[in-house]
Structure formats: structure tokens, C-alpha cells
């Protein structure tokens, strides 16, 4: 794991902060709305049974209608999240990802060059070259 690259540098980027704020606001909104709606429904089923048993049309009562509405709201929230993510999150995250990967490729390229340079230096160690120069100087 130690050799995996770090993308922490981008965390301070203005666009990343915007992406983070947008995602968190969206996620919080959805969590609060579906949990409160779900628990309202559960609490009504448990504590307000007379209200829930009231018939609406034929044999369909409030409880059944609210239950089916839970399905509808789940589909609607999933659709809303997906639509928002496509429009407001995906373009931003793609832009940042491409930039991060470009930077990463650049870093890797520089590291490769540095490694190559180190290798070349290791093949011809400085002291021996100096000695060689000195001896050749002596001959001259």
C-alpha cells in the first residue's frame, strides 16, 4: 500500500470543494427526507392505528396508500439523485479525475527519469571516475 499514489493535493482545489459540498448537501437532503418519511410511516403504523385503518376507496385504507407511496417516493428519490449526479457531480468529478491522472502520469514520468539518472550515476560511480581522471592526468 505504501507505493500507491496520493491524491491529497487535490483536496484543497476549489472545484473539488464544490463537488464535495454538492454531494454532501444532496446526500444529506435525501437521507433526511427518506428516513423521516419512512419513520413517520412506521410510527403512524404503530401508534396511530385508527387513522391508518380509515378506509379511503373500497377496501383501500390510509395504511395501504401510504405504503404504496413509500415505493413511489423511493423510486422518485433514486431518480432525483441520479439526475442531479449526472448533471452536477459527474462533469466535475470527471474533470478532476482526468486532471489528477494527468498529474499522476507526469509525476511518474519525472520519477522514471530521476530513477534512470540515478541508475546511470550508479553505473559510473563518481570516485572511480575521479581516480581514472587522476591517473589519466598523471599519464598526460
Amino acid at each position: 500500500m505504501g507505493s500507491t499514489p496520493s491524491y491529497a493535493g487535490l483536496a484543497q482545489d476549489r472545484r473539488f470543494r464544490l463537488l464535495k459540498t454538492r454531494f454532501r448537501r444532496l446526500a444529506l437532503g435525501i437521507v433526511v427526507s427518506f428516513l423521516s418519511w419512512y419513520f413517520l410511516y412506521i410510527l403512524l403504523s404503530v401508534f396511530a392505528r385508527d387513522l391508518m385503518s380509515r378506509p379511503l376507496a373500497g377496501t383501500v385504507n390510509v395504511a395501504l396508500l401510504l405504503g404504496v407511496l413509500q415505493f413511489v417516493s423511493t423510486f422518485a428519490l433514486a431518480w432525483r439523485y441520479t439526475r442531479y449526479a449526472r448533471r452536477m457531480l459527474d462533469p466535475l468529478s470527471r474533470q478532476l479525475r482526468e486532471e489528477a491522472e494527468r498529474q499522476q502520469a507526469e509525476t511518474e514520468r519525472i520519477e522514471q527519469i530521476m530513477a534512470q539518472r540515478r541508475r546511470i550515476e550508479a553505473w559510473t560511480p563518481a570516485p572511480r571516475r575521479a581516480r581514472h581522471r587522476r591517473t589519466s592526468g598523471g599519464v598526460r
Binding site: 419513520f39 392505528r49 395501504l64 479525475r97
Partner: protein, 549 residues
Amino acid sequence: MSEGRLLTFGLFVAFILITLAITFWARATTRNAEDFYAGGRAFSGPQNGLALAGDYMSAASFLGIAGLIALSGYDGFLYSIGFLVAWLLTLLLVELMRNAGRFTMADVLSHRVRRQPRVRTAAVISTVTVSVFYLVAQMVGAGALVSLLLGLSGGTAKAVTIVVVGAIMIFYVAFGGMKGTTWVQIIKAILLMTGTVVLTALVLARFGFNVSDILAAAARASGRTDYLHPGGGFAKEVAGDPVRTLINKLDFISLALALVLGTAGLPHIVSRFFTVPDARAARTSVNWAIGLVGVFYLMTLALGFGATALVGQARIAAADPSGNTAALQLAYVLGEGLGGPVGGDLLLAFVGAVAFATILAVVSGLVMASSTSLAHDYFGHVLMFGRPRESQEVAVARLSALVIGLLAVVLAVVARHQNVAFLVALAFAMAASANLPAIVLTLFWKRFNSAGVVAGVYGGLGACLLLVALSPVVSGKTDPVTGAGLSLLPPGIDFHVFPMENPGLVSIPFGFLCAWLGTLLSREKADRERYDDLAVRSLTGSGSHAQRQ
């Protein structure tokens, strides 16, 4: 065996042969860890969505909820709503987890912490515990169901069934890996949806597509005035005992909480986030799952009410007191209405095969998730310090599938006469109390650290297990009329202290509390850079594990 049973048996064998062929193909095309753990990350969003739905819709929800609705009316419906709404939380977390992890939940949890081995070990323990509990519930159910479908009776038949189901499941996972398992899920999901659509259409056609008529007929057949009202099955009001009434109500709220928060932490669901090429495909797959699961649970309403209206509660309860056979009996009645006894046998055999496929698929998903966790997290990262040979790790994963599978078979054979349906709800409660706090805080809390993860996972898991052990599920629950024991242990033993059967209401907040306190009490400082790195990775997908070409 009668002709109908021979047909059922023939369909079982056909399903097994087809899936085994797929498993052999998957074995031949599995070359590395990416293939074995994540199916090469090559599944499309819709394919993985079908597989997610396949992993999720267990026999407990197909047969169990239909039976619950048939016997207790409206209250069975409350269960399915919890099962569906939970997917919204999964939808919000799926992309972040897909981006941040490689194969398992532990990959996500250990990314930013300083003490990786401890965090990984905690995640492995929780993954394996949740999976094994869920597995035992499914396999005991399988034993009962399959022996019923084939007309076998007695403890030996159940034990043999459990062993056969276990052997097939181990084979799927050990040979086919994630690729094979995913295809089994996809086929099962298609079969299950087809079966449910056919039954629903037939029920609706019987009543001239008038929903109100079905409800009226069901309410009439049940002979109860409160059949369509809340309170028929759960959170019963006990006359003259307000304390008991309140406890019953809180118990139900506790169950609802576990259902809605547990799904996103179920190991076999999480391991499916990594089988797609990128986060967008992961989102698509969860959206597909929401659509499939939602439509499926709406249809279980028709099955449940239809069973009461057409079969009758007395016959359903006579075949199985918890109503697990309601959907099967309904299939027979509907088929009989179309083509006499032959039609009945045909439809019953088909629905029976669907139920069988459902069981096999769900148990293999669970074994897959826990063996991945054991091999990748425990062997690869804890024992081998993250530097195992890939081939070695995959070999360990295949072996782990055998070990987990055998463990589940042995436990299920021992518990085959017990009513272990509560284990399903317990698995959800454990996932919500142990896994969810760790996942959420890892992704969103800057200060969270290794001690917090470890405390949260062990705290939540331990609280769940302890509370259930001290609950009326394990000891001290007797039938008020007959005095017969309703707990796991015989009637004479009673050490129950905790009044509720579902621990979620206490254990989920306790899991979060432990994670928070563990973080604050330890001297370890969070690694800011790694947290920033995780935030960037999870939201943008930079450096995520992509599909290998």
C-alpha cells in the same frame, strides 16, 4: 414420487446442470485475483443490478413475506417497505465505496487508518459473523423447503438436503468465483422475476384486474375485521398491559431501523459494488436493483393477498405455521384453475424450482463474500502483510469457501429443527450496528481513526450478539395459552433480561457511540493527508481499481 414431484425434481436438476456448466466456464476464464473476487470487473450496470437483486431477494423474502402477508395481512407489507427503502442509503454510498475499495469493505475501512491489520481483522470478523448467521438461516430454510417440495419428511431428509445444497454452493464459489456466482445470481433473478410476474398476472386476472376486489376477497377469506389494518402481525397490543404493548411497539421500530440501515452494510451486497468497471456503472446497478426489488415487493402483495383469498388461511397455516408455503400453494391453485391438476403440478414445479434457485444463489453470494474477506483481508493483508502471491491468495479463497461452507452446513444441520427465521433480522441488525458506523465515519469524519473503527465494529457486533443472547428469542419466551416454549432453548431455562427480540434500537446507536468514543479516547491522531486522499479518490474515482484489460 408423484408426477408433479418428479417434474419439480427434474427442474431442480436442470437448474443445477445449467449453473454447473456456467461454473466450469467461469473456472476456465478465471485467471487472477481480479477475476476471482470481482468477476474481472467486467459486468455491466444492468447485469450487476440483476445480480444485486438476486443476492438480496432471498427465499425469506419471496416465500416468507408472501406468507407473512397471507397470514398477518397488512403488517407483512411493512417488512417489504423496509427492505426496499434501505436501497436509497446504498445508492448514496455505492459510488464512494466502489471508488475507494478494491474487493471488500475492509479495503475501504483500512485506506486512511494507521493500524491496518487491526482494522482489517475487525472487518473480517464482522463480515464472517454476519454471513454465517445469514447462511444458517437460509440453509435451515432450504432444508425445510426442499424436503417439502420433494415430499420428503423427517430430520434425515432435511439434513441430506442441507448437505446437498451446501455442496453445490461450495462448488459454485470455489470453482466459479465471482464470475460464476454472478451468473447464478443473474439467472436466479430472471427466474424469480418471471415466476412472480406470472403468479401476479394470474392473481390479477382472477379478480378482473381490480385491486380492491382482491383486498376485499382476502379480508373476507381471513374472517378478520382487522386484516387490512396495521397491528395484525407486529407490535401487538396486549390488553391491560401497557408496558408489554409499548415494548412490542418499540421492538417493531427496532426491526424497522435494522432493516433500513442494514442493507448497505451486508457483506454480500458490498462485495458486489466492485464487479463493475467504474462508479457510474455501480450507480446504474443499484438503480436497477431498486427498480427490480421495488416491483418484486409490490408483487408480493398480490401473492400474499391472493394466497389468502384463493387458498385460505387455514390451509396455509396447516401446511406451515409461519406461512412459508403460501406462494407455492397459490401457484398450485392458480395452475389448477388454468389446466386442472396437471396445470397445478406444472406451475407448482416451476415456482418450486424458482424458490430452489433463489436459495442456492443467495447462499453462494454469502459464501463468496466471506471467503473473499478471509483470503484477501485476513490472509493477504494481515498474515502476509499485503504482499502475498496472487495465485496463493486465490487458492486460499477457494479453500476458505470450503471452510465457511462446511461450517454453515454443520451449524444448519444441528439447528435444522429450530425456528431460525430471527437470524435474518439479526444479520441486518449486525450489519447496521457493526459495519454501517465504520463505513459512514470512514468516509465522512475527518478525525476518525483505527481505534474508532475497531471499537465501532466490535462494539456494535458484540452489543447485537449479547442483546440477542439475553432476549426472549434465546430463552424464556412461552406461549401464553399453551405454555409451550417459543425460544431457542427449552422452556425450563430462562435468563432473558432484555425485553425486545430485535436489538437494533439499542445496538445501532451503541455502535456509533463506540466508534465515536474509541476515536476520542485513543491518542492516535488521524492521518489528514490519507483522509484527503480518500476523499478525492472516493468522490472523483481517481486511481480507482479499473477493469484490467
